[in-house]
């Protein structure tokens, strides 16, 4: 039986020749720069981080000629990961700081995501119910903080929360008639339900900046719901709340999934607010994983350890995103 396979130059000619070939050439030409960019600046560093996680690597030390690995930067296998399970009081400082950072990051993410959704969803419904130019104005006002630099946001909130000259303490002093200088971001004894107030300060700053993003997503999703579905519910006697609860909300499930996954990923990656507002303090109470990775890698040159922590962060985000998509996956589409 004769083979139909086209080999060598002929196949190449067929692949890139003709009308379809021209299309393929166009696609390849358009995509190549982006793919090359991704390969060099995304995939290569990710792969390098995974490799480093198995080495006790520090750029301060002299490694072998091959990528600086080996010699004074030895292969340690899973040692970094096994050390992460040392929960004793005598565990090395970086291990204890990792435990703290993991706790802080989880706490931050699991507070931020529901709060964000609880604020943005009703707000989006309210903005959507506004008619005319006011809707555009509200949408713009709420979206503006998203465009602001996170460092700028952090500095503004530090000004608001400054113990002696801050707006918040100023208002409290006015209201109580007694000079107040609460150190919102630096007093380690300030806790609410066991959560450091300093962490809440960052959460507030984060939400202030971030809600506009989800708000726009929810507004777009609300606009996409056909009026006929809601009209049918009203005809059946559903109240405004019932329409929202039993019609709008279920139809928004895919958007809620998208928003919660995006917010969760972004919450795990927040760095600038932690770095500028508290530098991880007071006493590591706001040391997030991203800050921990940065400090380990670039301040103390423990690249191998930092890479291992970043692998954990990656796995964490990946797992939580999968779990979220399982739980929030809609059973039907419209």
């Amino acid at each position: 039986m004769a083979s139909a396979t086209i080999e060598g130059p002929e196949r190449k000619h067929r692949f890139f020749g003709g009308r379809q070939g021209a299309q393929r050439r166009f696609v390849a030409a358009v995509l190549s720069p982006a793919l090359a960019y991704m390969a060099v600046f995304l995939l290569l560093p990710i792969g390098w981080a995974f490799v480093l996680a198995f080495f006790d690597f520090s750029p301060r030390r002299t490694g072998s000629p091959f990528l600086g690995l080996g010699l004074d930067n030895p292969f340690v296998g899973l040692e970094h990961f096994t050390r992460m399970f040392d929960f004793s009081k005598t565990a090395p400082l970086e291990v204890r700081q990792f435990h703290t950072a993991l706790k802080v990051t989880l706490l931050f993410a699991f507070i931020v995501v529901p709060l964000n959704l609880a604020i943005t969803l009703p707000l989006a419904a309210m903005v959507e119910s506004v008619r005319g130019r006011w809707k555009v104005l509200y949408r713009t006002v709420f979206f503006l903080p998203v465009l602001t630099s996170a460092v700028g946001v952090a500095i503004i909130w530090l000004f608001v929360l400054h113990p002696q000259r801050g707006l918040l303490n100023g208002v409290i002093s006015r209201v109580t008639g007694r000079f107040t200088a609460t150190a919102w971001t630096t007093d380690p004894d300030l806790l609410f339900l066991g959560v450091p107030i300093a962490l809440f300060a960052i959460i507030v700053a984060y939400l202030w900046q971030d809600i506009g993003f989800n708000l726009v997503i929810f507004i777009a999703a609300l606009q996409a719901i056909p009026d006929s579905v809601k009209d049918a519910a009203r005809v059946d006697g559903a109240s405004a709340w019932q329409t929202f609860r039993y019609i709008t909300l279920p139809l928004l499930k895919p958007t809620i999934l998208l928003a919660s996954v995006l917010t969760m990923i972004s919450a795990f990656q927040v760095f600038d607010l932690f770095q500028v507002m508290t530098m991880g303090g007071p006493g590591d109470q706001t040391r997030a994983l991203s800050l921990d990775i940065y400090e380990s890698a670039f301040r103390y040159q423990r690249m191998g350890w930092a890479a291992a922590v970043s692998v954990v962060l990656f796995l964490l985000v990946f797992t939580i995103s999968i779990v979220q998509s399982r739980f929030l996956r809609p059973n039907w589409e419209y």
């Binding site: 002299t62 000629p65 400082l93 630096t186 530098m279 006493g283």
Partner: protein
């Protein structure tokens, strides 16, 4: 089969190219012994790496121009990096052997890079000569295992004298310009200078609880109490000592006396420089470099500022200091003799060294420039130096620590601050600091 082989070969070549592109130190630079000697009149171009500091670099360039005029065959090219980039550049370039011929180095870092640096040639200076020419603290950083790897240009100092706002002191009826005979006297004045409102400190009498201030205070007070924190062989810490307890007790007493509230005044809130120049601190512990930084924005406070020597525990003002910025030569430089000649010109020539100190507003590392006419000239230019000169000879180099920043900012400062804030007992803090500090030798 042939095609598959070709693909695998291509893949292998690509891997090899990638590997060689990313290889650290693959290029044969001669390694640590690969440096060379340029013939006397042979044209030589030396690259010099520095961190970005306007006055530091201008001072270097002015003297470099003089050197080039005197040595027409030598061309000096400068590359500057911002501080963070410079650290990372040194960390990656030195193991890779791609660094410049002359490297500006913070003394305390030097021994971390010693494997890739050229030892000072005997005809430039012996270790003993350098130790007698320079103050102990600055030269300490450039001395690694009894070998010398460069020379300091400045004495980096953070402890020994405090900023004093004389206008605030005058208004409060405090005359502190003559200094204090004891800590009790100091604390009495600090308390007078402290202002409160509804029980909250609005102006602290003495701010010593930012990171550097607190850690330098702690280790310096240990020295003044007759103790040490680093073993003689430099390979272990002993921090849980009676002298350490005494140091903490003194600092704690200032908190108890209401001179400072460490929750309101620390490294994050009301950092000492901001606090002092915004007049929320009457006195503050920070090196003399801070005055030029703030004098443009706060000219009135700067004009009212004096440095006054702090009292001591034992009568001698012993203190801990880092080694300052200086110059080193790469082991890979092909013209090490010329590079060292330039470093000698910059650092060992008292006139040039003093010119750089004057241009940069730094305290001298050379002992001869810390006395006599050179000292008077520096004081005339920088009156804030006056309180520091008498104590320079008492500075002890902090030691070639495995990771100085880790000890300072992740171990000592958090524990000391926590003790002062009431979050940790002295015993627990000292035990934890000792254990964590010794872990850094792992």
């Amino acid at each position: 089969m042939t095609r598959r082989l070709t693909r695998w070969q291509a893949f292998g070549v690509a891997l090899l190219m990638l590997g060689s592109a990313c290889t650290f130190g693959a290029e044969d630079t001669g390694g640590p012994d690969g440096g060379g000697t340029a013939a006397p009149d042979e044209p030589v171009t030396l690259r010099i790496w520095t961190h970005q500091n306007k006055s530091f670099n201008q001072g270097l360039k002015d003297l470099a121009a003089e050197y080039e005029a005197a040595n027409p065959n030598v061309t000096l090219e400068f590359d500057t990096f911002d501080y963070d980039s410079y650290i990372q550049t040194l960390q990656t370039a030195l193991p890779a052997g791609t660094e410049a011929d002359i490297l500006q180095m913070f003394g305390t870092w030097t021994c971390s890079y010693a494997d890739n640096l050229s030892p000072v040639p005997a005809d430039i200076s012996s270790l003993a000569d350098a130790q007698s020419a320079f103050f102990e603290a600055p030269i300490g950083g450039y001395t690694c295992d009894d070998a010398l790897y460069g020379f300091p240009q400045e004495f980096n100092i953070e402890y020994g004298a405090t900023l004093l706002n004389t206008a605030t002191a005058d208004a409060a009826g405090v005359d502190a310009s003559a200094g204090w005979a004891s800590w009790d006297e100091f604390m009495a004045d600090a308390k007078t200078l402290t202002e409160t409102r509804d029980g909250v400190i609005t102006r602290t009498g003495y701010h010593f609880t930012s990171a550097d201030a607190l850690v330098y205070s702690f280790f310096s007070l240990i020295l003044q109490g007759g103790g040490q924190f680093l073993a003689d062989d430099g390979a272990s810490f002993t921090i849980d000592t009676p002298e350490a307890r005494e140091a903490i007790a003194l600092m704690q007493s200032m908190v108890d006396e209401g001179i400072i509230d460490p929750e309101l005044f620390n490294d994050t809130a009301n950092w000492v420089g901001d606090c002092y120049f915004e007049e929320a601190c009457a006195m503050g512990l920070v090196g003399p470099w801070v005055v030029p930084e703030y004098s443009t924005d706060f000219p009135e406070v700067a004009a009212a500022t004096e440095y006054v020597a702090l009292p001591t525990l034992s009568g001698t003002p012993d203190f801990v200091a880092d080694s300052g910025w200086g110059l080193t030569v790469s082991a890979n430089s092909p013209a090490q003799n010329v590079a060292w000649d330039f470093v000698r010109f910059m650092t060992l020539d008292p006139v040039n060294a003093a010119a750089w100190n004057t241009a940069t507003g730094t305290l001298p590392a050379l002992k001869t420039n810390g006395e006599g006419t050179a000292q008077q000239e520096l004081i005339a230019d920088y009156p804030h130096f006056e309180a520091w000169f008498p104590i320079l000879e008492h500075g002890q180099y902090v030691g070639n620590l495995p990771d100085r920043d880790l000890l300072w900012y992740e171990i000592a400062y958090p524990h000391l601050l926590s003790v002062l804030q009431g979050g940790e007992s002295v015993e627990d803090a000292l035990a934890a600091m000792e254990s964590e500090a010794n872990d850094t030798f792992r």
